[in-house]
Symmetry: C2
Subunit: 217 residues, 2 copies
DNA sequence: GTCTATAACTTGATAGAC
DNA sequence: GTCTATCAAGTTATAGAC
């Protein structure tokens, strides 16, 4: 009784339910426990799939991780950006709305879970170049979206402020803040980091029309 | 032929050479490969020590990690701060000198190695509360030293700028910048983050004597 | 304090029937 | 595409002689 199984993968969409379930389960477990600390058996048990099926789709554990990282790229807009961008059109508020989203995540998990990409960045960058690149692409997607907000802010920001580098600092603030909040199991380091970043941006917004020098005193 | 082995541990100092070697080797390997990915066998081989000796000193692998984290606390001043503080007495330059030290480390390792504490923070915070706390203490030592610099800067910084929170942002910038530099295997994200932080601090230094409002325009 | 040998278990991955 | 059974190697940790 050969089931007529959905098989064509148009683009990144997985038509196979088993494959989908595998990626989703692996995503959760890698997130909660890290890549090394998550066993294939564990993934299999939670997904309700047998070893044979997993290895039919993914030759190695690393290939499964790469699929997970592709999935995270797909989720950037629907999960991270859209909910914020739908609520406000002000590009500066969009930026801090995204940061507020991570604060809510920390709050909801009692500072136990942060950014899955950041976790993998530090754990895997030296172990697999393919993974490192997939992580970098995830960072880049996030950063480019934030940079677009900064560009949309137009002349509200001083002309000489580098939007590209400021977008990098914003991602830096999120990742560094999340890291400390998790280590201290306390929101304060995250909130402090974002508050100081906000102070910086506020100062930039107020002094938009030139360098700092013009009103030194 | 029972060797008269040095045994008393006065404080944190390890009088046993074997123990010292074990901690040092574990420190390197945990740094390079992460905690989970490093095997006891690997540590034993590199240190030239037998399994029996390791377990004589450390009941579990986690205890070894805790000793490593204690060691990092001891190393903060001699390895991270003193080399910078000896070169300059200006507290603001001390802060950015420390950040420059991490840049040099990234440069020397082609962006392969960053901050060992940051790695452990993300890998271990959910797995062991003892490790999480030891990581938090390491962060706190670093942050307190930087905060002292900011306090030493006195009225060069505006009175209403929260030194404590600014110190947090500085650690955040280091950790977040290092993370992205490693993921992209490129110094730019780190340099961009630090440059923007410097711009922020420069603006604070110039506008020390009050709020932003006084010269809005 | 250090040695060797090994227990007890888990790991990622494979084979081959269906 | 999915199933079961299993491999070979690796894991942390222990036992007991010296």
């Amino acid at each position: 009784m050969t089931k007529v199984n959905q098989s064509r993968d148009s683009g990144t969409t997985q038509r196979s339910l088993t494959k989908q379930r595998l990626v989703e389960t692996a995503r959760e477990l890698f997130y909660q426990n890290g890549y090394e600390a998550t066993g294939i058996k564990q993934i299999l048990a939670k997904a309700g799939v047998n070893s044979g099926s997993l290895y039919y789709f993914f030759p190695t554990k690393e290939d499964l991780l790469l699929a997970v990282l592709e999935r995270y790229k797909e989720l950037l807009w629907p999960m991270v950006l859209d909910p914020v961008f739908d609520r406000t059109g002000d590009p500066i508020e969009q930026v801090f709305g995204v940061l507020e989203g991570y604060r809510k995540m920390l709050l909801a998990t009692y500072c136990r879970q942060g950014c899955p990409i950041g976790n993998l960045a530090l754990e895997m960058s030296e172990k697999s170049d393919a993974v490192r690149k997939a992580v970098a692409e995830n960072f880049e997607g996030w950063r480019v979206a934030i940079r677009q907000c900064l560009m949309d802010a137009g002349d509200r920001l001083p002309a000489d402020v580098d939007r590209d580098r400021l977008a990098t600092l914003i991602l830096t603030t999120m990742e560094g803040g999340v890291m400390q909040a998790r280590a201290h199991r306390n929101l304060e380091p995250y909130e402090a980091s974002v508050a100081m970043l906000r102070d910086y941006v506020d100062r930039l917004l107020l002094h938009k029309s030139g360098g700092v020098s013009e009103c030194a005193g």
